[in-house]
C-alpha cells in the first residue's frame, strides 16, 4: 500500500477526478458498510477503502473496468482478504520485536477512545434504561462475550429471542444517542477497532 498515495496523485487528472466523484464516491458509504459487515475484525476500514480506490483507478486506466459497482465490491473484498493475510504475518513478526515496540508512546486509539467519552456516558444511561431482560442479554453478549447459543441456554430462551433482544438493545442505544444530540454522522464514522 506504500505506493498508493503517489499513484493516486498521478492518476488524478480532471477527467479521472470527475469520473471518480460521479461513479465511485457515491458508493463509499455502502462500501464501508459492506466491509464492516463482511470483515468485522478489520482494524482500519479507511485504509482499505483507499487501497480499493487505488486499485479501481488502476483498472480504469488499464481499460479493464466495465461496470463500477460490482467491480468495486469485488476489489474491496480481495483487498480485505489480502490485508487480513498481511496483518496475520505482521502480528507474528511483532511477537519477536516486543521489546522494541513497547517504548512507543501514546497510541492514537487511546485518544480516539477518550474522544468518545460523552457518547460513552450517554450509553451507560441508555443501558440502564433498557428493559431488564434486554439489558441482561446485551451484557452477556457485548461485555462478557458469550455466544448467542450460550446465552440462549443460560437464560432458557430461544436463539431467535436472543437475536431479537440484541437488535432491540442496539436500536434503543442508537435512539438514545440521537435523542441526546449525537449526530448520525458521528455514529457512522466511529472506527471499529476492538471487537468482541
Amino acid at each position: 500500500m506504500s505506493s498508493q498515495p503517489e499513484s493516486l496523485g498521478q492518476l488524478a487528472t480532471t477527467d479521472n477526478a470527475r469520473w471518480f466523484a460521479e461513479q465511485v464516491q457515491p458508493h463509499e458509504s455502502a462500501l464501508r458498510a459492506y466491509l464492516r459487515g463482511r470483515f468485522p475484525g478489520l482494524p482500519d476500514v479507511d485504509d482499505l477503502i483507499q487501497e480499493t480506490y487505488a486499485r479501481v483507478l488502476r483498472a480504469k486506466l488499464a481499460g479493464e473496468l466495465q461496470e463500477v459497482r460490482p467491480y468495486l465490491f469485488a476489489i474491496a473484498r480481495n483487498a480485505a482478504i489480502d490485508l487480513t493475510r498481511r496483518s496475520r504475518v505482521a502480528a507474528t513478526d511483532s511477537l519477536g520485536n516486543i521489546e522494541q515496540l513497547s517504548v512507543v508512546e501514546d497510541r492514537p486509539d487511546a485518544a480516539e477512545t477518550a474522544a468518545h467519552g460523552q457518547e460513552i456516558e450517554i450509553l451507560h444511561e441508555a443501558i440502564d434504561a433498557l428493559p431488564p431482560r434486554c439489558r441482561e442479554i446485551l451484557r452477556l453478549r457485548r461485555f462478557h462475550g458469550l455466544s448467542h447459543q450460550t446465552i440462549a441456554q443460560q437464560l432458557n430462551i430461544s436463539a431467535n429471542t436472543v437475536d431479537a433482544q440484541l437488535c432491540l438493545a442496539l436500536f434503543r442505544c442508537r435512539q438514545f444517542l440521537l435523542l441526546r444530540g449525537v449526530s448520525r454522522e458521528t455514529l457512522a464514522s466511529v472506527p471499529a477497532k476492538t471487537r468482541a
Binding site: S29, L31, L95, L101, T113, H124, L187, T194
Partner: protein, 353 residues
C-alpha cells in the same frame, strides 16, 4: 429520519421497516454471512444510500457499546483516589474479600485508557468477567486475584492467585503480558487461560499464539520447535505456544539449565472441559474422584475429603455445577453407594459396604 433533537422524555419509537432491516443485517453479519447472504447484503446496501448509512450507525453504536463496557455498579466502598493515576506499579490488593472495592478501582480507571491500573478479586465460589479499557476481557474463576497496570506501551496483568481466561483485543503495538508465579505470557491478540496452581502455572491457548517466558530473565520456557509450525518459527525467532496447546510450568522448569517444556496438544473436547468453569460448569471425562473433589474444593469453604484410597481412584464423568457440592455428594450417595460423614468443616466420603 425524524428530527433528532426532540425531548429525551418522548417515548422511544419502534424501529421503522428500514431500520428493522438494517438491524437484521447487522445481526446476520455478526454470526457470519453465507455466500448467498453476502450477495443479498450487497444488493440491499446498493438499493438505497440510507441503508448503508443506517448500517454504519449501528456498527458505530455497537463499537461504542464495547468501549463503554458495563455501567459501573453503585460502589458501596470508596475507592482510593490515587488509583487511576498510578503509573506502572503493582497495587497490591489488600484482601480478596474486598472485591467490591477492588472492582470500583477498576472502574475509576475507565476514562484513562492509556494509563490504567486496578485490581479485581473473586471470592470463593464466584465467577466474574471484567472488561478492560482496551477492549480486552478477563474472566476470573473462583478465589482469584488479578492486578492490571496499563501504560501506552504495554498492557500488563498479574495473576496473583487462582485462574483467569483472557480475551485480548488485538493491538500489535501494545503487547498484552500476563505474569503468574514467575512466568510471563505475552500475546498480541489472542485468547488464553492461565491457572496458578499450588506448585505449577498452567497456560492453555484457546486462540492465536503466545510466548511463555521466565518473568525475570525473559528466557523462553518452551522447547523449540516440536509442535510448532516450522514455517512460522524462523520469522518468530522465539518458540511459541499455539491454539489448542498447553504447558504446565513446574518450578524446576525455571532453572536456567532446565530443558524447554514441550507443549501438549489439547483436543477440542478437552479444551471445552478445561474452560467449562467460565460457564459455571465443571466437566470431567472419567477423571479420578480425587481430581473432581479437588476441583469442587476450589469453589467452597466447606471441603470434601475422601477417606478411602480406593474410592479416590474411582473414575467419574459428567458435567457438574461447581456451587452444587451438596447435589454432587447426593449423587455419589444415591447412584454409587458412597457413604458420607459430616463434620463441621468437611464432608468425608467413603466407599459403601
Amino acid at each position: 429520519m425524524p428530527s433528532t433533537n426532540s425531548h429525551p422524555a418522548t417515548p422511544l419509537p419502534e424501529p421503522t421497516e428500514m431500520e428493522a432491516a438494517a438491524l437484521t443485517w447487522f445481526s446476520r453479519c455478526q454470526s457470519g454471512l453465507t455466500e448467498e447472504q453476502e450477495t443479498a447484503f450487497q444488493d440491499w446496501l446498493a438499493a438505497d444510500a440510507r441503508h448503508a448509512a443506517l448500517f454504519n450507525e449501528l456498527d458505530g453504536t455497537w463499537e461504542l457499546l464495547g468501549r463503554a463496557g458495563e455501567p459501573a455498579p453503585v460502589a458501596a466502598v470508596e475507592a482510593p483516589a490515587a488509583a487511576p493515576h498510578r503509573r506502572f506499579h503493582w497495587a497490591r490488593p489488600t484482601l480478596p474479600l474486598a472485591a467490591a472495592a477492588a472492582l470500583a478501582v477498576g472502574y475509576l480507571g475507565w476514562w484513562r485508557p492509556a494509563h490504567y491500573s486496578g485490581e479485581t478479586a473473586t471470592q470463593i465460589g464466584a465467577l466474574r468477567t471484567l472488561s478492560l479499557p482496551d477492549g480486552s476481557t478477563v474472566t476470573l474463576n473462583t478465589d482469584s486475584i488479578v492486578a492490571a497496570a496499563f501504560t501506552p506501551g504495554e498492557r500488563r496483568i498479574r495473576l496473583e492467585r487462582g485462574e483467569a481466561h483472557f480475551t485480548v483485543a488485538k493491538n500489535p503495538e501494545r503487547p498484552f503480558i500476563v505474569e503468574a508465579g514467575g512466568v510471563s505470557v505475552r500475546a498480541v491478540g489472542t485468547a488464553f487461560n492461565v491457572r496458578l496452581a499450588s506448585k505449577a502455572v498452567e497456560v492453555l491457548v484457546t486462540e492465536g499464539k503466545v510466548r511463555v517466558d521466565d518473568a525475570v530473565s525473559g528466557r523462553s520456557l518452551l522447547a523449540a520447535p516440536a509442535g510448532v509450525d516450522p514455517a512460522v518459527l524462523p520469522t518468530l525467532g522465539h518458540p511459541i505456544l499455539g491454539a489448542g496447546q498447553k504447558v504446565v510450568v513446574a518450578p524446576e522448569a525455571k532453572q536456567p539449565a532446565a530443558a524447554g517444556i514441550v507443549a501438549t496438544a489439547v483436543s477440542s473436547d478437552e479444551m471445552q472441559r478445561e474452560l467449562a468453569w467460565r460457564e459455571r460448569r465443571l466437566d470431567f471425562d472419567l477423571a479420578p474422584l480425587s481430581e473432581i473433589v479437588a476441583e469442587f474444593n476450589r469453589y467452597s469453604r466447606h471441603q470434601l475429603v475422601i477417606g478411602d484410597p480406593v474410592l479416590a481412584e474411582k473414575r467419574f464423568g459428567g458435567s457438574f455445577k461447581p456451587d452444587d457440592q451438596v447435589g454432587f455428594v447426593r449423587m455419589l450417595q444415591e447412584n454409587f453407594g458412597v457413604t458420607v460423614q459430616e463434620t463441621e468443616t468437611a464432608t468425608v466420603l467413603r466407599a459403601g459396604p
